[in-house]
Amino acid sequence: MATVQDIKRRVRSVRNTSKITKAMELVAAAKLRRAEARIEAMRPYADRMLELMAGTARASSSVRGLPLLQRREPRRVAIVPFTGDRGLAGPFNSQILRRSFALERELRAEGAEVTWLVAGKKGRSTLAFRRYEVAGSWQGFSDQPAYADAQAIAHRLAELYTAEEVDRVVVVFNQYESPLVQRVIQRDVLPIAQDLLESGEEQRREDALRGDFIYEPEPEQILERLLPVYLETELYRALLESAASEQGARMTAMRNASKNAGELIDRLTLQMNRARQAEITQEILEVVAGADALGG
């Protein structure tokens, strides 16, 4: 049986671990709040961008020539999982990768080729472990992505799409629902959906009321510049959602770890008290037996 000393040592080690998990939980909670605020802060930009894009498309005579809108037979598909840079976040990273590999199997069964690009260290190392070739990888920002990070990813994806090296781009990321719930989402980001550019009767009437905009340069040229920026904002939103999800998942995982540590400490303490009591009983027995021997 373990001695009191052994158990004491284990309790101390578990207690130290629980201090770390507790601290990580608090840090994740603080980062989560920041990530939520940034999702909120980008909303006006994204909304106005969409409005502007729809309006410009209405004014354009033709949108057919734009490369990012071109729909092709998807023979080569790019899969882009957004993972975190660090682990200890429950199922956050593994569920993204599991979904990505499932998607890969599906696409290959349909006869498509798959190109991998990846954000986050965790995803990159998994792909490297499987000896997959990667057409682009970005890391070092998963806990607080900047707009410039989204721009770098968007630039690379648009480049591949325009060069016709891929015919479809799918991003797999965790959508943030609440600190406890993250949902894995796969979203086609390229080609850009045409229906974003279509608008209803009501908007057309509004346009007519407002009068014509002066476009400087031509609406087609403005639209050509708007489309990549739209892609950037979509990716930026996904990066922010993923960052919030990562912190939420880590917070939950660390809360569970702290709880488990607490239970373990309780159990060990009970064991330790039993062992101590056994020792005392043993000593008393020895003393009584000794006294009996002398007295006899």
């Binding site: 980008m42 989204a150 721009q151 770098a152 630039h155 009068g211 400087e216 340069p217 920026v229």
Partner: protein, 141 residues
């Protein structure tokens, strides 16, 4: 006052939040083909912007200047919106920091050209452009 100019709504919005939101008398933005100045009751306009200096004249002696990245500009019904990928207020530009960022990005680009780095070329070029823009705006004030 007789010479008080009519005000209109101005917003300078970035993906990281609004940089300016409020009323102003005059707004000057760096259009692709040259600076565009907008007063109240301007005709509806959509334009593209390049990186440069955006100036919001809140009143005659209150002018806010921003170093802004490329983006888009829309005027409608007494409301002007500049959508730019980044905006830093002129008085918040840290010349030393911008210079350091510029130097770092340039040396990283050299290392990339020598094949010693796997950084994203396009991203480095963006960082250089952004730092240069900030220095340009800070130099003008």
């Amino acid at each position: 006052m007789a010479d008080e100019r009519r005000k209109f709504d101005v917003s300078v919005v970035t993906p990281e939040g609004p940089a300016f939101e409020g009323e102003a008398e005059l707004l000057i933005v760096p259009g692709q083909a040259g600076e565009i100045g907008v007063l109240a009751r301007h005709a509806p306009l959509v334009a593209t912007l390049k990186a440069g200096s955006t100036r919001v004249h809140v009143s005659r002696d209150d002018v806010r200047e921003f170093a802004t990245g490329p983006g888009f500009f829309q005027v409608q019904l007494d409301r002007a919106i500049a959508l730019v990928d980044d905006a830093v207020a002129a008085q918040e530009i840290d010349r030393e920091r911008a210079q350091r960022q510029l130097d770092e990005a340039r040396s990283e680009l050299e290392r990339l050209e020598a094949g010693e780095s796997d950084a994203d070329r396009w991203q480095l070029e963006q960082r250089i452009r952004h730092a240069e823009n900030q220095l340009g705006v800070a130099g003008g004030t």
